[in-house]
Amino acid sequence: MSAQTRQPVSEGPPKGIGPMQRREMWLAYLMLAPTFIIILVIVAGPLLANFWISVKPVQLGDLRPPAVLVNERLRGDPEAAGDSATLEYRLRNSSRDEEIRDVVLKDEVPAGFTVTGLPQGCELTGSALSCTIGTVEPGWRDRLGLEGTVSDVFLAANRPERASEPVVTGDANNVLTNFEFTFENFSRIFSADEFWSVLRVTFYYTIFGTGGALVLGLFAAQLLHTAFPGRGFLRGLFLFPYVSPVIAVAFTWVVLFDPFSGTLNALLTKMGVVSDPINFFGQRAIEFSVFGIPFEFPLALTTVIAFEAWRYFPLSFLFILARMQSINTDMYEAAEMDGATPLQQFWYLSLPQLMGILSVLFLLRFIWTFNKFDDIFLLTGGNAGTRTLTVDVYEQGFALSNLGAGAAVAVVVFVVLVTFATLFIRFSPKEEGL
């Protein structure tokens, strides 16, 4: 009653969510739920977990939680029905520094084995055996013997004690889930001398890799802009580096540039361009001097950047070509009438039109190049001055088996990335719709 009086009739369109719209909303949430859950579990979860692992002293070996290992054997060598025998369980704590609490062993007594003597703490219900062992020390070992007699059924069967696996349960401190924190990982990676060089290499690689791919892509797009016979074929060919598996092209480059049996070095030495083979992926720097000033040319890093530009120019090529073909040709005809030369047309007409797509490509490629791991890992393994942050994650976490330090580097990667992304979203052009 009061609601009606407060709301005048001529309010305009109804506000709030009606029943139909609410149904639509729930349908939308339902349809998005699976995607949402899988992204949450596989992407958002690990991102947060990285922060957790990065403040934990966890090694690769700690991933296997401490457990009681058990080995079941039959002792006493029974030959006829009624002979006595012992089922022996040998138990061992797999960890040398963690105790395990509430250890319980469960097993099925094999058919035809009549139990005569139970060890302390064990109970037998039917054929189900359950032994409560309690807390065990680090490095603990023990044996449990189950005395009994055997029947014909038992003797006839092939190793009947193997019929059921004994199961041991117990609680142990898991370094991943306890509340012990340390900043040692971060202090270790930040104090390492190489960290700052890794950071520098990462930026060189990202900036020049992105720039190289863009420039090559722009050039290739100019080549294939006008129609000619064989254009479709060339366009397909130019996309090969991008669609082939990274593993295939990376190994091909390694074989091609190999200092001992590589084709390129053989060509260069046989044709007298260089006297000794060049180890393109293995030599950190070439030293030379201009007017007495010594310079260092980072050879392996340059080769890796060249690979990056070679592999990803097709992507920018495709985008730029698509954009160029949508530019209205009237403009060029008008410019032609006004006497603009071809280079002027490119500089004053094409480039401004392409600026939007070029900057979007730059942003996307910048981030993806920054994220790139496979290429460098396969080409040089991060050696010879090519270790970027992403390769460092692998190096710390898996090569040096220090998961905590690896996660700490991953946190650094993530923080740098978030910084870029925020900057880019602020300054990116809106009209390209990416």
Partner: protein, 410 residues
């Protein structure tokens, strides 16, 4: 007569002469295995004089007789032979004479054609800025075509040819990238046969195919409803969601690897294909969702509204109207997801230890050791590349559309 015009003509000829000689000399070396030292200076001189003659004959047009390019070709040939003492590739004429002859013909024809294309309207008299720039651009484009084709095709050529060689042949002459037919078909394909019989590559191929197809199916099952909801249904948070999809595919895989490795190890999912099939769709769903929602937006909403009016449910509308209309988009998304899953390396490398469930990427990495000869490694690379390239060439149109429509990750 203007010195600038003459200089432009001369430089054009010089560039093409040197370029053609280097490219043809290297090609000759790689095809025959004989080291051909290209005589770049002689070739440059030949190109230079050929270009001058071409432009001179063009300006003297109307005099009748042979066309200008014919004079040019003769001059290129003669100058090259004289300046290089009749050995343009520094090989005695008795060595691989057929190939040398062929290379010579290709050189003369190539240089003449290039000169003719680049200097079509050139003259020795004054040229406007427009005319000069047209020539610059022709030269740049010509060189661009040659360089791009070589840098793209050479690695693939080396990959295939190395895989067809024997160990001895590779060590004896790394420059010889010809096909040695004398070893017969079984000799040529020895690496492939060994990979399939001894290195279990048939199984890797099956596993890769299974994983990729399963990833495609899972991705489509999850992303089609999601994309439809984002593009068609109104709900609070829609705009935010549509934008954050992009952010997700900027998250680097390497950042996810350590936590996933830790958790999957504890859950026993690490060394299993189930583990891979959980991770792969998670990395492809954002891309698929982004590509599909863009396409769904472009479909006319009236069709769907008509379906709703006629009594179809939302699910019915999606199945009977939206999906049939978006088959091209579904095709390009499927192909693209297939490619991502097929080419994926990092997770396969980190998660799989058991050779029975290696994917091809993981299998090829296991060949990268000093004990396995490199023709095997290259044969593995070819086996991993061929399926994806065949699919790409077959469906290129769809893929190119999809790639540009969806702004794709790599």
């Amino acid at each position: 007569m203007r010195p600038a015009s003459i200089l432009l003509t001369a430089v054009t000829g010089l560039l093409w002469g040197v370029m053609a000689m280097v490219v043809i000399g290297v090609t000759l070396t790689l095809i025959t295995g004989e080291v051909a030292l290209p005589q770049a200076t002689a070739a440059g001189l030949a190109g230079l004089l050929g270009a001058l003659v071409f432009v001179w004959r063009c300006s003297a047009a109307g005099a009748g007789g042979a066309p200008a390019w014919a004079y040019s070709a003769v001059v290129v040939f003669l100058v090259l032979m004289i300046a290089s003492f009749a050995a343009p590739f520094t090989l005695p004429l008795s060595v691989v004479p057929v190939w040398q002859g062929l290379a010579l013909i290709v050189f003369v024809a190539g240089v003449t054609a290039a000169i003719r294309l680049c200097l079509r309207d050139a003259r020795f008299g004054p040229m406007s800025r427009y005319e000069r720039e047209v020539i610059y651009i022709r030269i740049a484009k010509g060189i661009g075509f040659v360089v791009f084709t070589i840098i793209v095709a050479l690695p693939f050529y080396v990959m295939v040819m190395t895989s067809l060689k024997s160990q001895q042949a590779l060590l004896a002459n790394p420059l010889d990238l010809s096909i040695d037919f004398s070893q017969g078909l079984s000799g040529l394909t020895r690496s492939y046969v060994e990979l399939f019989t001894q290195f279990n590559f048939g199984r890797y191929l099956m596993v890769s195919a299974f994983v990729s197809v399963a990833t495609v199916v899972l991705t489509l099952l999850l992303s089609v409803p999601g994309a439809y909801a984002v593009s068609r249904l109104r709900f609070p948070g829609q705009a935010l969601l549509a934008r954050s999809v992009l952010l997700i595919y900027m998250v680097p895989a390497i950042v996810l690897v350590i936590p996933l490795y830790a958790v999957f190890s504890q859950l026993g999912l690490r060394n299993t294909l189930t583990g891979l099939l959980i991770v792969y769709p998670a990395t492809t769903i954002p891309v698929a969702l982004y590509m599909l929602q863009g396409y769904f937006r472009g479909l006319p909403a009236e069709l769907e509204e008509a379906g709703l009016m006629d009594g179809l449910s939302r699910i019915g509308v999606i199945l009977k109207i939206t999906l049939p209309l978006s088959l091209p988009a579904l095709a390009s998304v499927s192909l693209y997801v297939f490619m991502i899953a097929w080419n994926e390396f990092l997770f396969a490398f980190m998660f799989l230890d058991d050779p029975d469930i290696f994917t091809l990427s993981r299998g090829v990495v296991s060949l990268n050791s000093s004990e396995v000869p490199r023709q095997h490694l290259m044969a593995g690379a070819v086996i991993a590349t061929v399926p994806v390239l065949v699919i790409f060439l077959w469906f290129e149109r769809f893929l190119v559309q999809g790639l540009t429509a969806g702004s794709v990750k790599g």
